[in-house]
């Protein structure tokens, strides 16, 4: 369909490849959610032993999300530029609402809002951040290349990150939100040097932290974050407590082999990998479908990011391009971090796999983001070769 790097530039362009990839990931995600959750759900008295409990909830959120995506895709995306600042404010308010009686506690973590349906404000913040930063960069214009402009864009996500981290005790989402901001800044700023320096600085800082933690391994100086790092370095030493989840995920991946045990045949999901339908779903995919299945999923995400890049590059204006770049950054960061956690490449932190992991808010807002992308792609005009 595509000849070279160019998209056929006709007004109202619809990226069918992207639609196909999204539907494939969603369908596959539902199958895997059922595969990973049905056993534990059927054993749970609290869920009335309904094996399809998680599947049903996820399917509902998916259908709802697809509807929202369709609506957003039909709206001209410029209307979001006008409400960007409001969106930023609303997401702050929603995060704070978690502290009120509207907040909901699930599995000991207070991260949800009960607004008829349960909603995770952190997911809204990601969307709001993408829109707000895109409009901010457009407004800054050339000033982005100044130190002041650079620091402004870098600083904007920080309050939200801080709130998500402190109020909802959700470091993972805070990291993702910051990363989205960082990536959008990277795309918007013409500079390379600053980013290389920042990245190097970050790596050195992280290495230093690890070094200190290892040196002080006999003290609990760094609390449970230190513990996480020690577990990361040697999960087997903590096999019965903090290393359990990571190690079980590794067992799952390793035991799957090249082509896996077959769909539905995982033994690790039977109580060993806790809540296998959430963050650790990728390990069960590897166990059931093998290395082959795991890498297929990675390639699918790569294709999706490729399509997003093409749309961003061809976007009719900066705002649209930055929106798509933000979505691209969001998905890329989550996929990379999720797979990295599951393979114990980085210390364990709860990050879900986009479109596949169980989680209604996540899939809904991801689909709304995809709606923005389609809205942008519809506005691509034919200029001629």
């Amino acid at each position: 369909m595509t000849r070279n790097n160019r998209i056929p530039k006709t007004k109202g362009y619809i990226d069918y490849t992207l639609i196909f990839i999204i539907l494939l990931l969603l369908g596959f995600g539902l199958i895997m959610v059922y595969s990973t959750s049905s056993y534990e759900a059927s054993m749970s008295q609290a869920l009335h032993n309904n094996a399809a409990y998680y599947l049903n909830k996820q399917a509902f959120a998916t259908i709802f999300g697809l509807g929202a995506m369709f609506v957003v895709a039909l709206l001209p995306y410029h209307i979001w530029e006008k409400v960007a600042a409001i969106g930023y404010g609303v997401s702050v308010v929603l995060i704070l609402l978690v502290l009120t009686p509207l907040g909901m506690e699930i599995n000991g973590a207070r991260r949800w809002l009960n607004l008829g349906i349960s909603l995770q404000p952190a997911e809204i913040s990601k969307l709001a951040m993408i829109i707000f930063l895109a409009s901010l960069v457009v407004r800054l214009g050339g000033k982005i290349s100044t130190r002041r402009g650079f620091l402004t864009v870098l600083a904007v996500p920080l309050p939200i990150c801080f709130l998500v981290w402190v109020v909802t005790q959700n470091l993972s989402s805070a990291i993702i939100i910051f990363s989205i901001g960082f990536i959008m800044l990277f795309v918007a700023s013409p500079d390379y040097k600053k980013f290389i320096l920042l990245a190097l600085g970050g790596i050195i800082l992280a290495a230093l932290a690890v070094f200190v933690v290892v040196q002080l391994s006999h003290t609990s100086f760094f609390g449970y974050r230190g513990q996480r790092i020690r577990t990361w370095l040697d999960p087997e030493a903590y096999a019965s407590d903090t290393g359990f989840q990571t190690l079980q995920a590794l067992y799952a991946i390793g035991s799957g082999g090249l082509f896996g045990k077959g769909l539905g045949q995982s033994t690790q999901k039977l109580g060993f990998v806790p809540e296998a339908q959430n963050d650790m779903i990728f390990s069960i995919i590897c166990e059931e479908l093998g290395l082959f299945g795991g890498i297929c999923i990675i390639v699918l995400f790569l294709l999706m990011l490729w399509r997003l890049m093409l749309i961003a590059v061809n976007a009719p204006d900066q705002f649209g391009g930055l929106l798509v770049a933000g979505v691209m950054g969001h998905i890329a960061v989550q996929v990379i971090l999720n797979v990295a956690v599951v393979t114990n490449t980085i210390p364990n932190t709860g990050i879900s796999l986009p479109f596949i992991s169980y989680g209604g808010s996540s899939v809904m807002f991801l689909l709304i983001e995809m709606g923005l992308v389609f809205s942008v792609s519809r506005s691509i005009t034919f200029i001629g070769d």
Binding site: I253, S255, C286, G321
Partner: protein, 720 residues
Amino acid sequence: MSGQDRRFNKKMQEKLVALFLIVLLAFVGLSIRLISITRDNGEQYKKQVLSQQKYESTIIPFKRGDILDSKGNKLASSEKVYNLVIDSKNMLRKEEYLDATMSALTQCFSEFNETDVRQYINANPSSQYYVTLKQLTYDEIAPFVELMNDTKNNPDIKGVWFEEEYKRVYPNNELACDVIGFTGKDNVGSYGLEQYYNDTLNGVNGREYGYLSEDETLERTVIPSSDGYNIVTTIDGNVQQIVEKYLYEFNEQYKNAARAGNGANNTGCIIMDVNSGEILAMASYPCFNLNDPRNTDALLGSRFVNDKGRIEYEANSITEENMAELLPDDVSIYQNLNYMWKNFCISNTYEPGSVAKPFTVAAGLESGRMTGNEYYTCNGQLHVGDHDIKCHNYKLGGDGTLSVQEAVEKSCNVALMLMGRQIGKTTFLEYQEKFNFGLKTNIDLYGESRTNTLVFNEKNMGETELATSTFGQGYNVTMIQMITAFASLVNGGYYYEPHVVKRITAPDGSTVKNISPRVLKQTVSAATSAKIVQYCNGVVVNGTGKTARPAGYAIGGKTGTAETIPRDKRNYVVSFMGYAPADNPQIAIYVVVDRPNAVYQDDAKYATRIVRSILTEVLPYMNIYMTEELSEKELAELEELDITIKHPAMEEDETGEEGEGTAEETEDVMDANGGDITSSTRPTDEEMQSDNVETAPLTGAIFNIETGQPVSEADENDPE
């Protein structure tokens, strides 16, 4: 438009591509990481997964369902038993644990071997699972559990736990062994109901498994097991017991008579309710103890079975002396055990002989080829094809001129062959199939034989084959085929599918499925059926079956004496197939004696006497009223049995018995309202059930002298 119509500038486009390349790099890196995990640690992790599967989740066994007789008595059930497991690791946590635990175990379990266990613990200090004593009952472990739970006085008993499992128990040992079958440790049924209803009886194992809670500690969850369904059979334990008693008695009487060994290769008996196809009793001898099916003592007296699964007639019977020689290895032992475990009544095939004659007559009458008013002349033999086929009294010059009824009564082969000519091959074969010969009856027991290749068809039935088939030689049948077809001949023509299970119930007692009688076809008309009953009644009144009649009753039936292999005119299968009462058949009985242990085997009385003994007890038990006068001798005989029958728990039967004893004096009274008496005094199934379930265990319900075994030394007195 808001005026910012600036396109994405080149720099940004370049940055986007750079971003994509960075992401691509990260993806490649993660893929390599995935590959390396699978390649480097795959095998190790695979083993890890398997090993923790065992450790983290334990199976909670289900209880296999019970097998009950028609009155609710247990024929087979599963009892919870306990294995004593030693957890060395736990026991060695503190020094004082070991000695305290060892002394408690020695004190409570007589079979406990302290030195062995100590040795094991020393050698395997990290072991957490070592079974020392197996299949203990609750009563056996109770004293120890009490000690262990009394943590105040015995704080140091540690590292011992009990693993639960179920053990299959057959409370009546040999009773109905062929019908029930047995079950191994793994809940896999072998033979009989245990195999046929294996999936119904089995439940689903539960599991106890570990999982990680939110605060990252391991917790355990228990999924309870679901127990299997019970099956309620149509077998009446008391009738079954009577049948087995007389099969055993027969064997006692004739064993070692003409040669060393059992009273016959096999004796089998089926009693069936003719109006439903329900099997009330089914037994054969030799039998075996279901609680110990592999005990080779049960083979003593049986003929040796070779590696083709066939009896070897040249070899001697198995005795204690020659067992080691005849059965040198497991293979030969299992050949012989397998032969014994088979249900003779449904698995063994043989030529039926003259009991097939009523079927030939029925085919003739029903097809219209015969009217029933024919006369046949027998000169002792008939020339068929190239053979002279002899009648049984060929030496006396034949039976002379016979009516159809007389031909059946005297069991005249010549008359039957002449009928066969009248009927013709095609019609004869058509009726063979109607009577289900050559087809399975589909009784709900494991191991029914296929006989489709053992019967004649249009192609291979010649003149001679037709002639011999009319009197039951040349084709093979199973006992269950014969009695099921015969029941249809005497009940008005309804062919019921024979069945042993009438109800399947859930562990809580609720009914899962009722299995009601099923009419498969109509074999003959009611008129033909009535004629067959008339002829068969004649057999017992005037003919060859006189000795089958029990005291006080009129019955009907047909004898059979069939030549069998080795075909040297010295090996016979003798049988009697009958029904009672004569005027309104309720039950059918079929006894087959396969090669009785006698010099001259060709005497149907080997079978008729067993039938007589069984019916003498079974008919009164079933509350069927006596209609015939009793002679002095019969009175004496009944009185003797009365003494044996008496039992305080069965008062109902006792009064019933007395009523029947005096029946001859008050015959007219009974005739006047016989029907009413029958229906009012005969307890319904439900009443009987509720009476028997708790109070009267099966063993001893009737035979209080007996030891609970269906075959016992106490009954040495010969009824005749």
